[in-house]
């Protein structure tokens, strides 16, 4: 059994640095033709502190640029859970301590969605992977002992599997380097999304009354009522602020986040007494506020006021420099150099194991159907890949230049004839949309099955005031 003996943040930084120094520790890059590495990001990267929790010796905490601190195995592979998720006609995922991912190759649909019935043959059955082909269970040795929230659960094949908070744990074959979190995300899914796999990690270190939300732009700090938390540029950023410049009329729209009488400083958190008996929380040297005119949870509206910014425990990895940000009717989207909106493709099968179908190594049947009626050439017109410039290189592991065979939609080998150099996010190509004619058009969002949640497109939102698209 191992207990972290030093402050979590320093541990994460150390591990992050080690990770970068040892990039490629367990396997070659899956497909990258050009990769510059992410070392340039490290100097300015904020990393999220976490609360120290007991961990079995074969695991550790890995700092990830996309998802914050996550648990990883001895090879650096991120650990995932598969929480139970209510779908239209039943549940998928795993109930507590009940592994449901095995080596059986499923061949028919489960009918968990609607209106299509169960029992239809799944695509490419001859090549279809099993659940454990894509999600190897994290097996426990015979002498493994429970530690803290870590327990060992029995699988029906007689093996033993590690679980955290009663959720059986897996790794993802999509992760090929330490710090990769390409198998799943902590960002919001729900409603009619597939039962997704979610990275597992230690709790964020913050006082009671706060929360951290995974978004497209970083891990956003909020109150535990999901109110956005803001900081003012004019306030000092010394280690521990003892005053604030937001006084008098400023308080009309800005509400200090009060620290209760029992609050104690911890790590990056402190407070000061702004008036007798009123103490205000300070994070990384910045006094914290909520914005009275915010119209909803996880808002960015307060950041429209000059000098005020949302607060993040860590920012999302930088997108390619050639990309632009375009205003739309709902907020800001990420766009290519010409201002055309960029979309992510999301796909999950209606099978009991809810396997993904949005990665180039997955079956392309669903994507080709939706983008071009099965015709790859039409796909290039309707959902064009976002082509990388000749001189562009990957800025980090999250945004990479990859080679794609446009006929198959799968990764191409270097030098392969007809291959396209395209931008990929989280190891999956991103797309434009043929019916978008002008900068700011977002006609592709919601295109595809289940409003783009199961076999379709979602716009890459960086700011929205209406539908929580950054979540």
């Amino acid at each position: 059994m191992k207990f972290w003996s030093e402050p979590g943040r320093r541990t994460v930084l150390r591990l992050f640095a080690t990770t970068l120094l040892c990039a490629g520790i367990y396997g070659a890059l899956s497909n990258a033709e050009v990769y510059a590495g992410e070392s340039a990001d490290l100097s300015e990267a904020l990393t999220e502190s976490y609360r120290e929790v007991p961990i079995p010796p074969e695991f550790h905490v890995e700092a990830t640029p996309l998802e914050g601190p996550v648990f990883a195995d001895s090879n650096g592979r991120t650990l995932y859970k598969w929480p139970q998720h209510k779908l239209r006609n039943g549940y998928s995922g795993e109930a507590p301590d009940t592994p449901a991912c095995y080596d059986e190759v499923l061949i028919v649909t489960a009918g968990l969605m609607s209106p299509y019935p169960p029992g239809i043959k799944l695509p490419e059955i001859d090549n279809r992977p099993s659940c454990t082909d894509l999600w190897p269970p994290v097996l426990a040795s015979d002498d493994a002992e429970p530690v803290g929230e870590w327990t060992v659960t029995d699988r029906k094949d007689g093996t033993r599997q590690w679980a955290f908070d009663e959720q059986p744990l897996y790794t993802s074959v999509r992760d090929t380097q330490s710090g990769d979190v390409f198998g799943g995300t902590r960002r919001r899914y729900g409603g009619d999304s597939p039962a997704l796999r979610v990275p597992v990690g230690p709790p964020t270190q913050h006082p009671p009354g706060f929360a951290v939300k995974a978004t497209s732009i970083g891990r956003m700090l909020t109150t535990n009522k999901n109110e956005s938390v803001y900081a003012f540029d004019g306030d000092g950023d010394e280690d521990s602020a003892t005053s604030t410049s937001c006084k008098g009329p400023c308080l009309t729209n800005w509400q200090p986040v009060a620290a209760p009488a029992l609050a104690r400083p911890q790590g990056e958190w402190s407070f000061f007494e702004r008036s007798p008996g009123v103490r205000q929380w300070v994070f990384r040297g910045k006094p914290l506020y909520t914005y009275i005119l915010d119209q909803g949870s996880w808002s960015q509206q307060g950041s429209d006021v000059p000098g005020w910014n949302n607060v993040f425990t860590q920012h999302a990895p930088a997108y390619p420099q050639s990309f632009t940000v375009q205003p739309t009717l709902a907020g800001n989207v990420l766009a290519d150099a010409d201002g055309k909106t960029i979309y992510r493709y999301t796909c999950g099968e209606d099978s009991a194991d809810q396997l993904g179908c949005d990665h180039p190594d997955d079956t392309q049947v669903y994507r080709l159907a939706m983008c071009g009626g099965g015709n790859p050439e039409r796909c290039l017109q309707h959902w064009p890949y976002v082509i990388a410039g000749d001189n562009e290189v990957s800025p980090n592991r999250s945004w990479r230049v990859v080679l794609i065979d446009p006929e198959t939609g799968q990764f191409a080998a270097p030098g392969e004839e007809g291959a396209l150099r395209v931008w990929a996010y989280r190891d999956r190509p991103v797309y434009g949309f043929g019916r978008d004619k002008r900068a700011g058009d977002v006609n592709g969002g919601g295109t595809g099955e289940w409003r783009g949640q199961r076999n379709g497109l979602k716009a890459f939102w960086l700011r929205d005031d209406y539908m929580r698209g950054i979540l």
Binding site: R88, V108, T109, M113, S114, P115, Y116, P117, G119, I120, K121, L122, P123, D192, Q295, G296, D304, P327, T328, L329, A330, G331, D350, V365, Y366, A369, M370, G372, G373, G374, R378, R435, V442, N443, G445, G446, T447, G448, E449, W450, R451, G452, N455, D464, D465, Y466, M467, R468, G469
Partner: protein
């Protein structure tokens, strides 16, 4: 004496009532202006109690019924041969026949306006007897139960989103108003608001007197202005060349695009109720529907996107494509309800 006393009291009461009425109007008209915020928006569907008049042959099948007819033995088939085939037809629609008879409205009457100023053989008659009503969207959706009140899936949820979603917060402001009952020249400006609606204690009934800030951050492209007149408390606007109505239902920001759009609204100090009519861009109309509502949602209203698209294209009656000659827009009308609101435009005040 008693009689005189009663007369005096009566005069006081009458005066007070008149004064109160005038005060109500005065309180709504500020600086010769009044604003209204949208609270209800339905595709206008003229319904008779048993639907025998407009849909004598019944209602259209939806995706679920069509799937059962197309693939009665689906267990032996693949996802590509069934589900994805239907989804391809949905997302890459065509005008080719799909093998299902589409039941259009067969009745004579429809809500709506005479958009082209003509009376043609395909026009409806207004229930008040006025001829020349242009509303081909009604002809397409009138026998689709999802568009019919009071429990059609689109009838309920697309309208519910008007109140629930700030993205859909459209407003009209009347300026240069001398008289809310009759005025031969007023200016109408269309904006999007930014704020939640003012409701009564139930939280469900929108009440007059709220305030909305004009959305100039994201909604600048939605602002339109036109001239209008008020006749017997009915606002009649001149057509707006291209009116964009933001209309997201299930968190997919989308729009409807109307050409030659006009409002015809019964006005009071507290409400504005009537029609928004014009020519809807066919593709925008269709994709707004299917992006917000999946095949599952459409199934609940027996709405086959595949069949409906063909009907929309077949019935489109305006704005021919200069190359193909095919009409790209379709006449339509929406029932609209609005509630008085004070419009605060920070940009204008600056």
């Amino acid at each position: 004496m008693n009689r005189i006393y009663r007369v005096v009291i009566g005069l006081v009461v009458v005066t007070a009532l008149i004064g109160s009425s005038a005060q109500t109007n005065d309180s709504a008209l500020r600086d010769r202006a009044i604003g209204y915020v949208m609270t209800d928006l339905f595709w206008s569907v003229y319904q008779t109690p048993d639907a025998k008049q407009e849909c004598p042959r019944g209602f259209n099948d939806g995706p679920r019924e069509q799937f059962e007819q197309l693939y009665p033995y689906h267990e032996g088939l693949t996802v590509e041969e069934t589900q994805l085939k239907q989804e391809i037809e949905t997302w890459h629609p065509s005008t080719e026949p799909d093998g299902f008879e589409f039941l259009e409205v067969e009745g004579e009457f429809s809500w709506g306006l005479n958009l082209d100023g003509e009376v043609g053989p395909n026009d409806f008659v207004h229930p008040d007897g006025s001829p020349g009503i242009d509303n081909e969207v009604y002809r397409a959706v009138g026998c689709v139960i999802g568009f019919r009140g009071p429990d059609g899936v689109e009838f309920i949820f697309q309208n519910k989103a008007i109140v629930d979603e700030r993205y859909n917060r459209m407003m009209v402001e009347l300026t240069e108003v001398d008289d809310l009952e009759n005025d031969d020249s007023v200016t109408v400006t269309v904006y999007r608001g930014m704020d939640r609606l003012l409701t009564d204690a139930t939280g469900s009934r929108v009440v007059p007197g709220g305030t909305q800030r004009v959305d100039r951050r994201w909604g600048q492209n939605l602002i339109r202005q036109t001239e209008a007149r008020i006749v017997d408390s009915v606002l009649i606007t001149e057509p707006i060349g291209d009116l964009i109505i933001p209309w997201q239902n299930l968190s997919v920001p989308s729009i409807q695009l109307f050409r030659d759009a006009r409002f015809e609204l019964d006005l009071s100090a507290e409400r504005a109720t009537g029609l928004l009519a014009g020519y809807a861009d066919v593709d925008t109309w269709y994709y707004q529907l299917i992006r917000n509502d999946s095949t599952h949602h459409l199934s609940n209203g027996q709405i086959s996107g595949i069949s409906l698209y063909k009907a929309l294209r077949r019935l489109a009656d305006a704005y021919p494509d200069p190359e193909t000659g095919e009409n790209t827009a379709i006449s339509t009308a929406l029932d609209i309800k609005m509630t008085q609101v004070f419009i605060a435009d920070e940009s204008a005040s600056k």
